[in-house]
């Protein structure tokens, strides 16, 4: 009697629909240990910082003279002298008057945060800034500070002016209107509006990033072109959006249809192999590293994205471009990633790049050169990847953006049909995951944790491409 019941229960279990995917892993990139910071103490209208915190942030030595209630902070050849209940502070040879006196609270001196604007500005002293978002004082990174953006709406052109200590480090890292991303090397210590109704800018927010600042903007279709102006002398970056396209304006990324994309089958193509070693740098060989990365990626994709993954090679063998294309096409890939590690002349900074088929400004998904759906286009099979140029570009931006947010940049997108994608009938890209000639990159990817982090970052990018939200 029990046996049929057990069998029925088992049958029910087997017939049950698969459990839904677990909660979407937010995989917010883990920030590197953030900048050194200290909380601000609010006393009525006064914002104060404790002297002990101040000394810690400045990496200063403290000298206390209880008889006169003076605290001296010494940093290299500089000194700051605070006196209890006195608004006058000595900084080196200068006397600075603060808006309110230094207070003694709980046995510790507290100075108004206005003091940080009067500290010595040479490289021997940590540069401090007040971060209103966290109500704290932070030690700025070498990239300096990024301030509050200001929106200026004009006739035909909308400008977003962003104060930045190092405008030369600002770069556009994603060009889709819905996810337009601007990267800075500095720390964002400004304030963003909760919402904006000044079209074409419909939204702006801060993305979590391992280092630096990434602002993501949402733009309406009224924006036809953009331009990034870096003013080093004035320490500001101006992002201009035009309602009219033209030669003076850069174009946005072509857009595909909204909604999630299919990502059931992923083909990973570890670059080179066999007689073709690829780049070799300090004993690190590209073909081996690419294969190792592909194997890790396979596990990550299967686990997190529940997609089937095929590798064009699973060992060290020579494959020609036709064999790679056949493998991808036979698998009916939704996406093809050709995995490489770069090498370059000179002393490269490192970072990642992606090569994908060029998409015309007038292109939309599944079309070529702006031709409407249903149009018949003759295309050599060699160039079949060009059919998927719009999706390929979206894939490239999603993956590169993910690498950027995890401090694996700088990243570059190059719109050229890459050799390994000749004859591949699917969206795809050649991904140079890191630069082996860069000591920093090489060290990162040759560590076990580093390669795993790289795989996860790529999968995050694939997930963003799939969600297309």
């Amino acid at each position: 009697m029990r046996a049929p019941i057990a069998a029925a229960a088992l049958a029910l279990l087997l017939a049950a629909p698969p459990a839904p995917h677990g909660p979407r892993v937010a995989h917010v990139p883990e920030r590197a240990p953030g900048p050194d910071s200290a909380p601000v103490r609010n006393l009525g209208d006064e914002r104060l910082i404790g002297a002990n915190d101040l000394a810690r942030l400045l990496d200063a030595t403290k000298f206390w003279r209880g008889d006169v209630r003076k605290l001296e902070l010494r940093v290299h050849s500089h000194r700051v002298l605070l006196t209890a209940d006195n608004p006058y502070v000595i900084v080196d040879e200068s006397t600075v008057r603060l808006p309110s006196p230094v207070r003694s609270l709980g046995g510790e001196l507290h100075a108004p945060i206005a003091l940080i604007d009067s500290l010595p500005g040479d490289s021997t002293v940590n540069r401090l800034a007040y971060d209103p978002r966290g109500d704290q004082v932070v030690v700025l990174p070498p990239g300096g500070m990024v301030g509050t953006p200001r929106l200026i709406v004009g006739e035909g052109v909308t400008r977003l002016v962003i104060p930045a200590d190092r405008p030369q480090d600002a770069a556009v890292v994603a060009r889709a209107r819905a996810h337009f991303r601007l990267r800075f090397a500095g720390y964002f210590a400004g304030v963003l509006p909760d919402s904006t109704r000044q079209r074409p800018l419909t939204g702006i927010h801060l993305l979590p990033a391992v280092s630096g600042t990434v602002l993501e903007l949402a733009l309406s279709s009224e924006a036809q072109g953009f331009r990034l102006v870096r003013d080093v002398a004035a320490k500001k970056v101006t992002l201009e959006f035009s309602r009219v396209a033209g030669e003076a304006w850069e174009s946005f990324a072509p857009e595909g249809p909204p909604g999630p994309r299919a990502l059931r089958i992923v083909v990973l193509d570890p670059g080179h192999g066999g007689a073709d070693a690829g780049v070799t740098a300090e004993g690190v060989v590209e073909k081996s590293l690419a294969l190792e990365l592909a194997k890790r990626l396979k596990g990550e994709i299967e686990h997190r994205l529940h997609a089937r993954v095929f590798l064009t090679r699973e060992d060290d063998r020579t494959l020609d471009v036709q064999q790679r294309a056949e493998a991808a096409n036979r698998a009916r890939a939704d996406v093809v990633l050709s995995l490489h590690f770069d090498g370059g002349p000179g002393t490269p900074d490192g970072g990642a790049s992606a090569l994908c088929a060029p998409a015309d400004v007038g292109s939309t998904a599944g079309q070529l050169g702006g031709m409407g759906p249903g149009a018949i286009v003759m295309l050599p099979w060699r160039d079949v990847a060009s059919r998927h140029a719009v999706e390929s570009r979206a894939l490239a931006e999603a993956v590169l953006s993910s690498l950027e947010l995890r401090g694996m940049g700088p990243t570059h997108l190059i719109e050229r049909l890459p050799y390994p994608l000749l004859g591949v009938n699917a969206p795809g890209l050649l991904l140079e995951c890191a630069t082996l000639d860069s000591p920093r990159d090489r060290e990162r990817v040759t560590h076990d944790d580093g390669l795993t982090a790289l795989a996860r970052a790529i999968v995050d990018g694939l997930d963003a491409y799939r969600r297309n939200d």
Binding site: A277, V279, D342, G346, H412, Y419, E432
Partner: protein, 178 residues
């Protein structure tokens, strides 16, 4: 008397020799080579493209090269200068030993460049290096042989599908794209 005859004969002989020496170019027919000078050699400024020290872009360098009569000589000297490398802090891109074997330029601006096998065997890899190497060739040749509209690179007489496995070279490259 005899002494006078001998002296006279010697004088006549010296004079005859001097006349012969002065009239030799007209008599011999073969012109004497002109003494080299900068006015007759001809130098022409050439623009060469190398990698920036950061390895992420190209920089140009101007160099005076002897003016060459034929297309082969012009292009060969450009290739030789690219192989020789930059004079400043820029970085050379063409592999050592790369030579020009043949060059053709048709009336529609298609230049076919046949480089020696060192071009392929000496390349050390990487898509950045590959892109810069190709761009260096395209820009140098199009800047100095202005009739060039497209460039087809072959190696030791054979078409090459790619230089390092990242960019296709099976088709002519449009100079506007580089």
């Amino acid at each position: 008397m005899l002494k006078r005859v001998i002296v006279g004969a010697l004088i006549v002989a010296v004079l005859a020799w001097a006349v012969w020496r002065l009239s030799a170019p007209e008599r011999a027919g073969a012109p004497l080579p002109a003494r080299p000078d900068s006015m007759s050699t001809g130098l022409r400024a050439a623009r060469l493209f190398f990698a920036a020290p950061s390895g992420d872009s190209l920089v140009s360098e101007s160099r005076d090269l002897p003016e060459s009569g034929t297309l082969h000589e012009r292009v060969a000297s450009l290739i030789a200068e690219l192989v020789r490398g930059p004079r400043g802090t820029a970085v050379g891109l063409l592999p050592p030993g790369t030579l020009l074997l043949h060059v053709y330029l048709d009336d529609r601006g298609l230049m076919t460049l046949d480089l020696s096998s060192e071009f392929l065997s000496g390349f050390r890899g990487g898509s950045t290096a590959e892109g810069l190497t190709i761009a260096s060739l395209v820009r140098t040749l199009s800047a100095n042989v202005t009739e060039t509209r497209r460039l087809q690179i072959v190696c030791a007489g054979e078409p090459i599908p790619t230089l390092g496995g990242h960019l296709p070279l099976d088709r002519p490259l449009d100079v506007q794209d580089w």
